[in-house]
């Protein structure tokens, strides 16, 4: 059994990761970290560079969490990558970060969080920044 967390280098992403580590430690389960990019732009600030990812890995090792870090670049949306991973690693919990969206922004860009919440087949823990 495992916990899947969608990680992006923002305050929400960090909050989600923090919470996911706590949950993983409590349940003694494996933590699967997903940081994906569609890979169709030259620069994606949501894709974590290697050095920063190494810091995350180091932290997980320090905290003694069994972990798997994935950075799929397959042209899929972040929501689909998280849901895919949840299914593949038989997740019993998905942790995501949540942020405020204006209705117009949501209309245009859609909502990754909403899609995960609606389509996940396991419980989803949504965390806000600074909690």
């Amino acid at each position: 059994m495992s916990i899947v967390v969608g990680y992006v280098p923002t305050a929400e992403g960090a909050a989600a990761l923090d919470r996911a580590i706590i949950e993983a430690q409590r349940n003694q389960s494996r933590l699967v970290i997903i940081n994906s990019s569609r890979g169709d732009a030259l620069v994606d600030k949501r894709y974590v560079p290697a050095e920063d990812l190494a810091a995350v890995t180091e932290r997980l090792e320090r905290e003694g969490v069994e972990h798997l870090v994935l950075q799929p670049v397959r042209g899929h949306d972040a929501a689909n990558e998280v849901l895919d991973a949840a299914e593949k690693y038989r997740a019993d919990l998905i942790v995501i970060g949540l942020r405020k969206r204006t209705p117009v922004g949501k209309l245009i860009m859609g909502s990754t969080a909403q899609q995960i919440l609606l389509e996940a087949s396991c419980p989803v823990l949504a965390v806000k920044a600074g909690t």
Binding site: S37, R38, G39, D40, A41, L42, V43, D44, K45, Y47, P49, A50, L53, A54, V56, T57, L68, V69, L70, Q71, P72, V73, R74, G75, K88, Y89
Partner: protein, 560 residues
């Protein structure tokens, strides 16, 4: 005095509000396409050709000039912040520029690139003003045999000297010349390469060819290699320079200009060789040689000045002789023809006001570019976050619209697709695009001069070398062709001495190959395999944190 008053008239034309607006549009478009790898000023001018026909020729060329110079500015931003050259001429900039950015000196690197480009562009344009009329005076005395020889030299030199592979260069040139042949022969009225198609009798429209090769070919190529690991952009504030930076930059700027202009003006110059020469010189002359490879400001200042001066230099043969030596100049030459203006030495005489307005707009555009680039560089870098499917969908839309609007014939769309597929294949097999475009544009003109020469000499072949200049040029042609063989023989004879010089002579070739790659085909050959690797890893579920690190290293290497 005459030049000065003509130039002032040019300024008067270029400074009208409407033309100033077009200069600004050109400058902004140019910077944008310069920043984006894979999209260059040549493609942009080609896409705008059909649109521009509704404009005054002067306004259109002012806009094109802005795009041309803007591309040179924009390329450096990408080189410095992303370590991916936005244009082939800013490959060298990426070496030191990106190191500087990684060391937290991105602001200074951007500033020295922008100000150096401005200084070099201004000096280069001044040299253009001084030298072009001299070249014109010389050129009007040339007869058809000399013209034919000079054009042959330009075609061969661009093909043989600039490319990484001469065979591929000549293959590309041959394709271009063949495409240029399609249509009715102007002298005998025979149909050539029309395959019984009446629609081909008028020949292929240059707009359709340029748009197909540059825009459709590139879009197909990018679509075939869409996914790649995103790169990290280095955050930067407003570019500025300290006193020490100024002190270390001004000499490289001037030296870079001195390299760039003559190389640009030569029939086979291009902007890549002078940037490399400038880099090597700065490395040798620098008081801080230990900083090279770790982010030396001289290594950004010199090459950036060189590529802008070369851009100005390229316009000298283009305006004075009607002889383009890079892709953008070639497409601009096609634009002259599109407007019914005959390029060549008589251009200054017949279209004086237009040409001088164009030159004046280069000064204006250069100043605008400094104003647009210096404070806004971080904003331009944001363009790189644009998802490429949107970008290329837009390009394809404009390409199709443009190709159709030239003759309002659906048949042109078929040609667009066929040639677009050819453009894709050329990128796939590493054929350079420049010889093809030059072949298409210069081919019919070369043929015209050859015909004229042979008519004058009543079919006698010796008419080809009846002028002394033609003979001199043929000797140079022979040298260009034989030089690599001689060099090879010399290298075999004296292997020890060349070993020391080896890296220097081998350097630009290697750099240029990556340069062509990244300019014409932004996702380089390695990246699709890298991406495939990653996909395999993901589907195996065995990917660990090391995998992205490996691909990052790969990207770093292939870009340098």
């Amino acid at each position: 005095m005459d030049i000065l008053s003509s130039l002032m008239d040019g300024f008067a034309t270029a400074l009208t509000p409407m033309n100033l607006l077009y200069a600004l549009i050109g400058v902004i478009l140019g910077t944008a396409v310069g920043v984006l790898p894979g999209i260059g000023p040549a493609m942009t001018v080609a896409l705008l050709l059909p649109v521009a026909t509704v404009l005054e020729p002067t306004s259109a060329f002012i806009m094109f000039a802005g795009i041309y110079y803007g591309g040179m500015y924009g390329g450096s931003t990408t080189s410095i912040l992303l370590n991916t050259p936005g244009e082939s001429s800013s490959v060298i900039t990426a070496i030191e520029g990106n190191r500087m950015a990684k060391a937290g000196r991105a602001a200074q690197a951007l500033a020295t690139a922008a100000i150096g480009s401005f200084v070099a562009g201004t000096i280069g344009t001044t040299l253009l003003v001084v030298f072009t009329p001299i070249v014109v005076d010389f050129a009007v005395s040339l007869g058809s045999p000399s013209y034919f020889a000079i054009m042959i030299l330009a075609l061969l030199a661009v093909t043989a000297v600039l490319g990484e592979s001469r065979l591929r260069g000549f293959a590309s040139l041959g394709l271009g010349l063949a495409i240029g042949l399609v249509g009715i022969d102007s002298v005998t009225g025979q149909r050539r390469l029309t395959f019984g198609q009446p629609l081909l009798a008028d020949g292929l429209d240059i707009v359709v060819i340029a748009v197909a090769i540059f825009a459709v070919g590139e879009a197909l190529w990018v679509a075939a290699h869409l996914r790649r690991t995103p790169l990290q952009i280095i955050p930067v504030g407003r570019p500025w320079m300290g006193k020490q930076d100024w002190k270390r930059s001004w000499k490289p700027w001037l030296r870079g200009t001195a390299y760039g202009f003559p190389f640009g003006a030569l029939p086979a110059g291009g902007a890549e060789i002078p940037t490399f020469l400038s880099y090597v010189t700065e490395k040798r002359l620098s008081k801080h040689p230990e900083e090279f490879g770790k982010g030396a400001i001289e290594g950004v200042a010199g090459p950036e000045a060189a590529n802008n001066a070369a851009a100005a230099g390229t316009l000298t043969p283009m305006l004075a002789l009607g002889l383009p030596t890079n892709a953008t100049a070639a497409v601009m030459l096609a634009a002259f023809v599109q407007f019914g203006i005959q390029p060549g030495p008589l251009l200054f005489e017949n279209e004086g006001p237009l040409v001088w307005a164009l030159i004046a707009s280069l000064f204006i555009g250069n100043t605008l570019l400094l104003l647009v680039n210096l404070p806004l560089a971080p904003l331009w870098a944001k363009l790189l976050r644009l998802p490429r499917p949107y970008l290329y969908a837009g390009i394809l839309f404009f390409a199709t619209l443009g190709a159709y609007s030239v003759n309002l014939q659906a048949f042109d769309l078929v040609i667009l697709l066929v040639l677009g597929a050819l453009g894709f294949m050329m990128r796939r097999f590493g054929l350079p695009v420049l010889p093809l475009i030059l072949g298409v544009i210069l081919g019919p003109r070369v043929e015209g001069q050859l015909r004229k020469t042979l008519q004058l000499s009543a079919g006698d072949v010796s008419g080809l070398w009846s002028e002394p200049i033609a003979i001199v040029v043929y000797i140079i042609v022979a040298l260009v062709l034989v030089w690599p063989l001689l060099f090879k023989a010399w290298r075999r004879a004296r292997p020890t001495r060349v070993a020391a010089a080896g890296p220097v002579t081998g350097g630009p070739v290697g750099d240029r190959s990556t340069a062509d790659r990244s300019a014409a085909e932004s996702p380089s050959v390695d990246s699709p395999t890298a991406t495939r690797h990653r996909q395999a890893d993901v589907s195996d579920g065995q990917e660990n944190a090391d995998a992205p690190k490996v691909t990052h290293v790969n990207h770093g290497q292939e870009k340098q």
